[in-house]
């Protein structure tokens, strides 16, 4: 009975995410186009929420790693890996949408500017986090080393965010996360907020699923480790001498 309840609860989150996506699309197309860039600027409603959600995910990886090091409970390690995987997906989505946006506006898909390079460093850095996990078999050592990696990697987020203020860049400075007024008109802000809610719910639904998968993987690993199997497996048979009695 417990399983059914958990499945139902998870289903609610999935449905909420899908409804939020539909609502965000409706709101986005009900708003007028941006004055200078026209319809292309609607990509703002995916590009910016995606990177904010990615920051949030990597923050969860930091929290999960720290909580693991303090409590040594593997469930926090499962949270860390779930959030990191979803964060990498959303960072990739930000870069992909950014490229689609840059081609008609800037004139190129990609250029080697600080903001773009540092976002790529963040993307490949967290891919490195996932690769490190795959390279370690022992779940305890894996959780400990990944936690350290996840804590150190968080330093890239402020560097990515402030890069457009520290160095002269083709990428414009922040529109929303700035000390003075947001540089966006009401209807466009509404479309952005709808996109932010949808992205957050999608990320939450994915993290919950990935967390449960990580818990089951750990369960399977411990069952396999404790199972009574021959050391060399069934593929090897003991050698016999010809003509032996």
């Amino acid at each position: 009975m417990t399983v059914t309840t958990q499945d139902q609860r998870r289903g609610v989150l999935d449905v909420a995410a899908i409804v939020a996506i539909a609502a965000a699309v409706l709101v986005a197309f009900a708003t007028p186009p941006e004055a200078t860039q026209g319809n292309v600027a609607r990509l703002f409603n995916i590009h910016v929420p995606s990177i904010l959600v990615a920051y949030l995910c990597f923050g969860l990886t930091l929290i999960g790693g720290t909580a693991y090091l303090v409590t040594r409970r593997l469930r926090f390690d499962h949270l860390a890996v779930a959030a990191a995987e979803v964060g990498v997906v959303f960072t990739g989505l930000t870069m992909l949408v950014g490229m689609i946006w840059a081609k008609p506006i800037w004139g190129v898909y990609w250029t080697w500017s600080a903001r773009l390079i540092l976002t790529a460093v963040m993307f490949f850095g967290y891919l490195g986090y996932l690769a490190l996990r795959r390279a370690i078999d022992d779940p305890i050592a894996r959780a400990r080393r990944a936690a350290v990696f996840g804590i150190i990697s968080i330093g890239i987020i402020p560097i990515v965010h402030f890069s457009v203020l520290w160095w002269r860049d083709v990428h414009q400075p922040p529109t929303l996360l700035r000390p003075d007024e947001m540089q966006i008109d009401g209807p466009l802000l509404a479309a952005f907020l709808a996109g932010l809610v949808a992205s957050t719910l999608v990320a939450a639904a994915l993290i919950v699923r990935r967390y449960r998968l990580a818990a089951r993987e750990a369960e399977l690993d411990s069952l396999l480790a404790s199972a009574d199997v021959p050391v060399a497996g069934d593929a090897v048979t003991a050698p016999t001498l010809d003509g032996a009695p």
């Binding site: 708003t31 007028p32 186009p33 941006e34 004055a35 200078t36 860039q37 026209g38 600027a41 703002f44 008609p104 506006i105 800037w106 004139g107 190129v108 250029t111 500017s113 600080a114 390079i117 150190i152 330093g155 560097i159 520290w166 160095w167 002269r168 860049d169 083709v170 414009q172 400075p173 922040p174 529109t175 540089q183 966006i184 008109d185 209807p187 466009l188």
Partner: protein
């Protein structure tokens, strides 16, 4: 003791890499130079990036060459850009052009259009590609 070294050495390497990256970014990764900075440098043949705002009333187009001036508010530089400009190219917008000095003129063959961080709905002034847009008052 061995345990401490196993943690300290990777941490030191990571710190060195980050500090080195930041220092090199600080000195080399300015994406473009302003007209004032470029005008102060001795004219050379090397390729450079020049960034600034297109001065209103200076844009003209002939034989595949766009002629205009860019400014950072202090210095104006004349630019001859060969090739067709981006859709969004217009008076008052930010551009980054890549090229070199030809006397007092900056000749460029690569242009990026920079848009600002403002997202506005402007009633009656929605941008349509191909239509000239009046600069905002």
């Amino acid at each position: 003791m061995r345990r401490y070294w196993r943690i300290l050495i990777p941490l030191a390497i990571i710190a060195l890499v980050i500090v080195g990256l930041l220092i090199s970014l600080r000195s080399n990764l300015v994406f473009f130079n302003t007209p004032t900075e470029l005008a102060e440098q001795p004219a050379g043949d090397e390729r450079q990036r020049l960034g600034g705002q297109v001065v209103a009333g200076t844009v003209s187009q002939a034989d595949g060459v766009v002629t205009f001036e860019v400014t950072d508010g202090r210095t104006q530089v004349a630019v001859h850009h060969s090739g067709s400009p981006q859709q969004l190219f217009q008076e008052g917008i930010g551009v980054v052009v890549e090229g070199s000095w030809d006397g007092a003129v900056f000749t460029s063959d690569f242009m990026l259009v920079k848009h600002d961080e403002q997202y506005r709905t402007e009633d009656g002034q929605v941008y349509e590609p191909g239509e000239p847009i009046e600069p905002a008052p």
